[in-house]
Each structure stands twice: as structure tokens, then as C-alpha cells.
């Protein structure tokens, strides 16, 4: 790893900087190199789609950017902070403050209502109960689900569940949203609504968004598309 190198900006306004990042997984005795020395940057306020065939390393890259996993070598800087050097506890703390996550299958807590799910990340803050409820109401308002606050996930449609997941990702006001196939489980119309919502969050709220998708139509909502194949960046499409 080149951790001893001084931190540098690939772009002055970068939200995400990835430099020479390699990721190797061990499966039994086998070592599989999923990412091969990737270097790129995502400017603050960008909306980037990561595309590529299955096994190309999209989700692995997303996990590294979101601080869910550590690279085998290389540097990752997000919002000006090197995250490849953080311990598990430091990463957890960092994620709570800086990143919102949206998953393909929503991953809501079935035992909690929509507002309970959205409030979950705020339990890690020092906000009072009243402040938390206010923030939750705002987040649900943004995703258009204020009237569904008391409903449990099983009482919501797929699109509504994903909106709740987006509200949960938004509620602690992170600058970076990472979304793994956020429309993979939705029909076209609902998918477009969700992508439109992400677009609004990018344009009007200034969130930097990185989504992984197989769907070229979904990628059209992004400002840029990064293509990955066999762990390498192929091209950048505007």
C-alpha cells in the first residue's frame, strides 16, 4: 500500500478520490483480485453511475467508497479524509456522519414504522427526541411520504419502501449518498420516480451521489457514468 505517500487532491473540489486502489478477496486458498489499481475522482455535487457487467467490481468499489470495506492497497479519500486507514470503529463513526446508503432491497427494519426506520441513524447523534422527530418529518416530507410515517414496511409498496430508505439515508444530512442498484427491484415507472428523486437531491440539495446500476436508463439520470470491466475503469461518459 502507498499509505506513506502524502495526501493529494486529484481534483480541488473532489468529494471522492480513489488512487491506485486494489482489492483482493480470499476465497478459501484462492485469491481473487477484484479491482486492479483504480484511480479516479468524483467531484463534490456530482451524480455518478457505476456500470458494468456482473463481477466487474462495481459493488466492491461502492463498498470501498462508502467505507463498508477496506482496500487491499491504495488510498481512498472522501470529503477530504483518508478512510482506508481508519479502524472498524472509526469507520462506523465516519459512516454515521458522512454517508447515506440505499440498497436494492431497501433493507428496512420490518419491526419499525417508516418514521422509526428513518430515525434509526439519528440514535447515534446527540439530538433530543423532539429534534429527531422534526428531522424525520423533514426527511419523509422530502421523499413525499409524510402521510405514511406510521406505516410499517410490509404496509408499503416497493417504491414507498425505497423512498423510506432514501429518507433514512438523508436524515443525518450526509454529503455523500451511495446507492447499490436502487431501482433493481422496481418497475420502470417507480424506478424513474426514485431516480428523479435522487436527481432532485443532487441538484437541489447538493448531495454527491454514486449509484451502481445495470440499467442504462437509470444511468441516464446521472451526470456521468463510469464503466467498469474486470476491475478496471474503461471510460467516462458524460
Amino acid at each position: 500500500m502507498s499509505n506513506s505517500q502524502p495526501e493529494s487532491n486529484l481534483m480541488p473540489e473532489s468529494m471522492v478520490e480513489v488512487r491506485n486502489v486494489t482489492k483482493v478477496y480470499e476465497r478459501g486458498r484462492q485469491q481473487i483480485e477484484v479491482l486492479h489499481g483504480l484511480t479516479f475522482a468524483i467531484p463534490r455535487g456530482d451524480f455518478v453511475a457505476l456500470m458494468g457487467p456482473s463481477g466487474s467490481g462495481k459493488t466492491t468499489l461502492l463498498n470501498l467508497i462508502g467505507g463498508l470495506d477496506q482496500p487491499t492497497s491504495g488510498e481512498i479519500t472522501v470529503g477530504g479524509r483518508r478512510i482506508d486507514r481508519l479502524s472498524s470503529g472509526q469507520l462506523a463513526n465516519w459512516r454515521a456522519q458522512n454517508v447515506g446508503f440505499v440498497f436494492q432491497f431497501y433493507n428496512l427494519m420490518p419491526v419499525l414504522t417508516a418514521e422509526g426506520n428513518v430515525e434509526l441513524p439519528l440514535l447515534l447523534t446527540r439530538l433530543s427526541g423532539a429534534q429527531r422527530r422534526r428531522n424525520v418529518a423533514v426527511a419523509l416530507e422530502i421523499v413525499g411520504l409524510a402521510d405514511r410515517a406510521k406505516h410499517k414496511p410490509k404496509e408499503l409498496s416497493g417504491g414507498q419502501e425505497q423512498r423510506v430508505a432514501i429518507a433514512r439515508a438523508l436524515v443525518s444530512d450526509p454529503q455523500l449518498l451511495v446507492c447499490d442498484e436502487p431501482t433493481g427491484d422496481l418497475d420502470r415507472k417507480t424506478a424513474d420516480e426514485i431516480l428523479g428523486l435522487l436527481q432532485v437531491l443532487n441538484r437541489e440539495h447538493g448531495k454527491t451521489i454514486v449509484i451502481v446500476t445495470h440499467d442504462p436508463k437509470a444511468a441516464e439520470f446521472a451526470r456521468r457514468t463510469l464503466h467498469l470491466e474486470k476491475g478496471q475503469l474503461l471510460e467516462q461518459a458524460a
Binding site: N63, S88, G89, A92, N107, M109
Partner: protein, 386 residues
Amino acid sequence: MTRSGFVIANLFRRRTRTVLTLLSVIMAFLLFGLLQSVNTIFNAGADFVGATRLFVQARVSFTSPLPISMLPRLESIPGVARVAYQTWFGGVWQENTPLIMFSLDPQRYRDVYPEWVMPESQWQDFIRTRTGMIAGKQLADQYGWKVGQKIPINSNIYPQKNGSKAWIFDLVGIFDGKDDEWKKRTNLAFIQQDYFDEANQFGVKGRENFFILKLSDSNQAAQVARTVDAMFENSPDETKTQTEKDFNISFVRQIGDIGLIVRWILFAVFFTLLLVVGNTMAQSVRERIPELAVLKTLGFSDGSVLGFVLAESFVLCLGGGLIGLLLASIAGAMVAKGTGGRFQLTVDYRVWLLGIAAIVLMSLAVGLLPGLRARRLKIVDALAGR
């Protein structure tokens, strides 16, 4: 929503399973409370007596009575201030309610047991009345006995000379204890030895189950006991002499080692409970691995996730444990009331403290393994279903 609200919500995600598990915890702690209080009764029953009295019985068994002719020899032993004696009557009230009832010499017994208090006139009536009987306050209250009544009592051992096992005694006194400990033990009755000797069909006149020696100095207990047993060694009536406290304990232990029995039952109960609750917790964690990974994704630390699982097991064990102990307290009080205080099944603070310690240990035992599994899980693998 709070963290504790989240814990409780998770606990009841499968309501039926949680309720059934909770019921098994409640049952286990109900048993724990009752059995521990039984154990307490049997172990602590002798703590209140001092070492100022020695019990002398036949070495073989107290069911082999000793001859009254021993009395003067016992009285002559240095350090012995007074000697009383008593015989088990085997009293049965009405259909088949057994009574703790002895025949004895009233004056001697009074001298040896100043802990029983009764008006002087009633003591005198007991001494004077051959068919007299005195009853402890608890016993008299339970059956509504009043001084002056004739009390019919059967003996399951001794028939009268006319063949009838139904005896009739004149209740001449009701005694109480000098303090709370002794008041709790007023569930027994005494009759006149002379009358019993004359009237019983077996002609066991002049033989007693026990001699009770009141010592002038409790420090001499061991020495006097040795002297008594040596005095009757190699005679037809060899003796076994022990302090009242040891006698009480060994008397109870004729039933068996209650403590050991209770421990084995509780071991079986808690072992089963450990499997039941442990399985519930393990299953509960296993089926929501992705949810736990999401918690970590949102920024909850490994320790927090471990804490959530431990808190769930703690709430489950605490809820069930406290309800179980509460039910045991109520059941114990009902048993004590139903038996007129003869069986003081009290779930006291010692049982509660032990119960709370068991709750904490049980929570750790059932929550730690699944909790550590949750703590160790890698977000990326868990989200990918690996």
C-alpha cells in the same frame, strides 16, 4: 423511538415465539423461587436456636424410644441444668391433616423451653389437667380452636385402650413465641405425658423418643454430648446426642438432602431453559443477519450491535424472571396461608437476590454467543448473503 424501544420491538418480531419463550422463563423462575424458598426453610430452620440444648435419641433411630430410667442419670451429668422428654404422638386432625404433636411433662418442658410464652394460669391448667392439651397460636388460629374446647384428634400410631384411635383432649392453653422467629413456629401442640402413658393401648409407658437437656453453659455442649453417649455405650439403649440445631437439620435430612435435590432440579430446569432461550436468541439473530449488517452500515459500532443482542436476551430473561419470582412470592404466600403458617414458603430477599443473579447469568449465557456472532459479522459478506 429510543434504543430500548428498538430492542423491545425486535424482541416481539415473532410474537408467538417470544411469548412461548417468555412463558418458559416465567415457569423456570417460578420453580426457582419456590424451590429456593423450600431450600431456605430446610437450611435455615435451625439458625434461630442456640446451642443451649442437646437432643438425646436412640443411636439407631429416634423411632426406637429410650427408657425413662435414663432420666436421673442424665440429670446427674455436670453442666446439665434441666431435662425434658417428649414422644411423637402422630396426631391427625379431622380426615387426614397431620399435626406436629408431642406428649411431654409440662413443667419440665416449660423449664427447658422458656421461648414458649403462655399465661401462668394456662401453664398451671396444663400441669393439672391430665387430658389437657396446649396448642401453638398459629395452629389454634388455623382451626379456630379456643381455650376450653374439647379437641378430637386421631393418632396414626397409638390407639387408646378401647381400640379407638380417636382421642379427645381439653384445650387448656394457647402459647405463642417470645419473638418473631419463635412465633413463626407455633404450629404444634402438646399433651400430657402421664395421660398418654396410661391411655395408649401399646403400653409404651416409660419410654420416650427424645430427652432434651438444657445446659447451664452452651460452651459445654460438646463435652456433655460425649459424656451422655459414653454413659450409654454398649448398653441396650445406646444414644446419639447432638445440639438442637444439628438435630433439626438431621431430622429434616431424613427426607433427603433437600439442598442437593433442589440444586439438581434447578440444574435440570435451567439447563433446559438455557437450550430453549439460547435457541430462540440464536434463531432470532440468524434470521436477521442482513438487518444487523444494515445497523452497522448506518454507523452502529460492533459493540453497539453486541449490546442490542445482549439487551434483548436481558429483557427476555429479566421480564420472565421477575414475573416468575413474583408469581413464586404470591404462590408461597398462598401456601403459607393455606397451611396456617406450618409451611412458611417465603420467597424472601435472599431468594430474590439469587434470582436476579440467575437472571443476569442466564442473559449472558444465552445472549453472548449470538451477540458475538452479530458483533463479528462483516457488513459486506452479510449484505451479500455470504
